[in-house]
């Protein structure tokens, strides 16, 4: 097995494929929902009632800062960091499924 397909890289590839499948399934669903929405041709101006962004924003910023600082502490964190990008892809895919429940 070539060096570039060892251990963590192989796991990252498998996880990335899983996230991609979730993302693409969500994407297709979202695309067709957008078309249905367009054909319904109704204005949707319901107010943005979501509140309390301040703390989540602070936590996100602090989390990112701490993560970068931890990269300099242990190589394990360096190896693990790319998996967060894979999580990002998976979460976007999930948002397509979560979105209708927020309506």
């Amino acid at each position: 097995m070539p060096a570039y397909l060892s251990g963590t890289a192989l796991l990252a590839i498998v996880c990335a494929i899983g996230a991609a499948v979730l993302f693409l399934a969500g994407y297709v669903k979202g695309f067709s929902s957008s078309i249905d929405d367009f054909e319904a041709s109704q204005d949707d101006e319901r107010a943005d009632t979501a509140t309390g962004f301040a703390w989540p924003v602070c936590l996100a910023v602090i989390g990112a800062a701490v993560l970068i600082a931890l990269l300099g502490i242990s190589p394990a964190v360096v190896a693990a960091a790319p998996f967060l990008s894979i999580v990002s892809a998976a979460v976007i895919g999930l948002l397509f499924y979560i979105e209708p429940r927020l309506d």
Partner: protein, 529 residues
């Protein structure tokens, strides 16, 4: 890690492959664009504002994609390579925050002015001053052009580094491809293609970075090599690496903050708050998802530059001299991926990641230009413009912005300097614009005076005393002038009056008797509240 054995170029990479990759991605985007055009675009409002029907997931994905330009993909590696983890820290932390900082202003304006479409239109109604709105319109046009240029430059850097394609040819080729598919579908196309591209810059990029690390010996080997470079900084390093600093694994280097971190942070905040690309999204995402979309975009954006920035550590560990990558820090990522003996397919995937980032930001910029031209220029100069005229101008704006940006970039500019200069200029408008939105006592004298004086005084200070002093001066001057003008000429703007601002597109549709012709009075009623 051994530099002499690892740095061998992947041989099979030919210019034809590079062109093929650009065309293949463009063809896929065109396919999406054609479906979008057929199913989702019937009026100028659909073309410019996606009918205000973008959902949470597409809103989040498209925001991430327009924000992840060559900056995030290549500069994160570049800043890590130049400054170690402190470079990554100062590059990444304000980057995600910049998106989330838009939330309060976005929600406020969307609810108070539901059919705004552009930030210049808000300023126009806020101050009733042609000069104020003209300054903002010009700033938006200039900002969009620079963003297109920077990303074109990013495309050319990666294509010339990896495939040895002449950068001018790569720039021209990329622009033609992007303009071709952007022409169909406008903002919807940008949103759909951009969201797809987030898959490339997240999951695919993560797999590639893990593969690159495995190829060079793993995270442990890179970590040890960087620690060794940090311990023997200066003369003990390979020729051409003398600039490398000492604390490469820490995030608390003051010189990083002073030389680029603080300036970049304020510039990034200005780049979102004072950028029509984002304001166009504010008025195009379904109103109830505006806050959530910006939050999720900021949160999910963070891992992208962190992941790609890790390539910079390999550059340090392998002690790649700057001259070896053509003297351009941004080339470190593409250079490494294509020079460590990886299979051609992996290198091609990495190039696709960068192309995806560049394409999505450029088409987002082109779509934003269409909104500025239709709402702030054509409709303002000729209120009786028909739906058909507006549509033609929206499409023309996309073409012209691309052509102008390509023409300028072909003259040759330095990548990093261009980025920092853009951000410094945008910083001048940051505080006056925020105060215009949130502080009713802000008046046109303070708004215009703050922007003009901060540029006239702040830019020379920046030139003489450097980035940090210049940035802080610009912010201080613009803030003081707005406050002083409010004291000298006290007046209070009634923000509720923004609800009476008409819907540019609905009015045009009504005039032309076309499209979905939504009821303007109903929108004025402030349903979003």
């Amino acid at each position: 890690m051994n530099p002499s054995t690892l740095l061998t170029a992947t041989n099979e990479l030919t210019p034809a492959m590079g062109f093929g990759l650009m065309v293949a991605l463009g063809a896929f985007m065109l396919l999406i664009a054609l479906i979008v055009k057929r199913r989702l675009v019937k009026t100028t409002r659909d073309f410019v504002a996606s009918g205000q029907r973008i959902g949470l997931a597409f809103g989040t994905g498209s925001l991430i994609s327009v924000w992840t330009w060559a900056m995030a993909v290549m500069m994160s590696s570049a800043m890590t390579y130049r400054w170690g983890l402190s470079g990554l820290f100062w590059f990444v932390v304000p980057n995600g925050l910049a998106i989330m900082l838009v939330i309060p202003f976005a929600r406020y304006l969307r609810s108070h002015m539901p059919r705004g479409y552009t930030i210049s239109k808000f300023v126009d109604h806020r101050f009733r001053s042609g000069v104020s709105s003209a300054i903002v319109t010009v700033t938006m046009v200039f900002g969009i052009l620079l963003e297109i240029m920077i990303n074109l430059k990013g495309t050319s850097v990666v294509m010339s580094t990896v495939f040895n394609i002449d950068w001018r040819t790569a720039t021209f080729f990329a622009m033609v491809i992007i303009l071709f598919y952007s022409f169909f579908g406008g903002l919807w196309t940008s949103v759909m293609t951009g969201t797809f591209n987030t898959l490339m810059i997240t999951a695919v990029a993560a797999a590639i970075v893990s593969i690159v690390y495995a190829q060079v010996g793993g995270a442990g080997a890179v970590f040890d090599a960087v620690a060794q470079v940090a311990a023997s900084a200066g003369a003990g390093l390979a020729p051409g690496m003398e600039w490398s600093g000492k604390d490469l694994l820490g995030v608390t280097r003051w010189d990083t903050a002073a030389e680029f971190g603080v300036t970049l942070a304020f510039g990034l905040f200005a780049a979102t708050v004072a950028d029509q690309i984002f304001w166009q999204k504010v008025w195009s995402i379904k109103s109830r998802h505006v806050g959530r979309s910006f939050f999720m975009a900021g949160l999910l954006f963070y891992p992208i530059p962190i992941t790609l920035g890790l390539l910079g550590l390999i550059g340090i560990g392998l002690q790649v001299p700057l001259a070896q990558i053509g003297g351009d820090l941004a080339a470190i990522g593409p250079y490494l991926v294509s020079h460590i003996g990886l299979p051609t397919s992996i290198v091609l995937l990495y190039v696709l990641v960068i192309l995806a980032a560049c394409y999505s930001t450029i088409d987002g910029g082109a779509a934003a230009m269409a909104s500025v031209v239709t709402v702030d220029i054509v409709k303002k100069l000729k209120p009786s413009a028909t739906e058909r005229t507006l549509f033609v101008f929206a499409k023309a704006a996309i073409l012209v912005s691309g052509i102008v940006a390509a023409a300028i970039i072909l003259s040759g500019v330095d990548f990093t300097s261009l980025v920092l200069t853009t951000y410094a200029l945008k910083t001048a408008i940051l505080v006056p614009l925020i105060l215009a939105i949130m502080w009713p006592r802000t008046n046109s004298l303070g708004f215009v005076g703050g922007i003009v004086l901060s540029i006239l005084i702040g830019m020379p200070i920046r030139q003489i005393y450097g980035e940090l002093a210049g940035t802080l001066s610009i912010l201080a001057i613009s803030t003081s002038v707005v406050w002083l003008a409010a004291m000298l000429r006290p007046q209070r703007f009634d923000m509720r009056s923004l609800l009476n601002v008409g819907d540019t597109f609905a009015e045009t549709e009504a005039l032309s008797g076309s499209g979905t012709a939504r009821s303007v009075p109903a929108q004025r009623g402030g349903a979003a509240l």
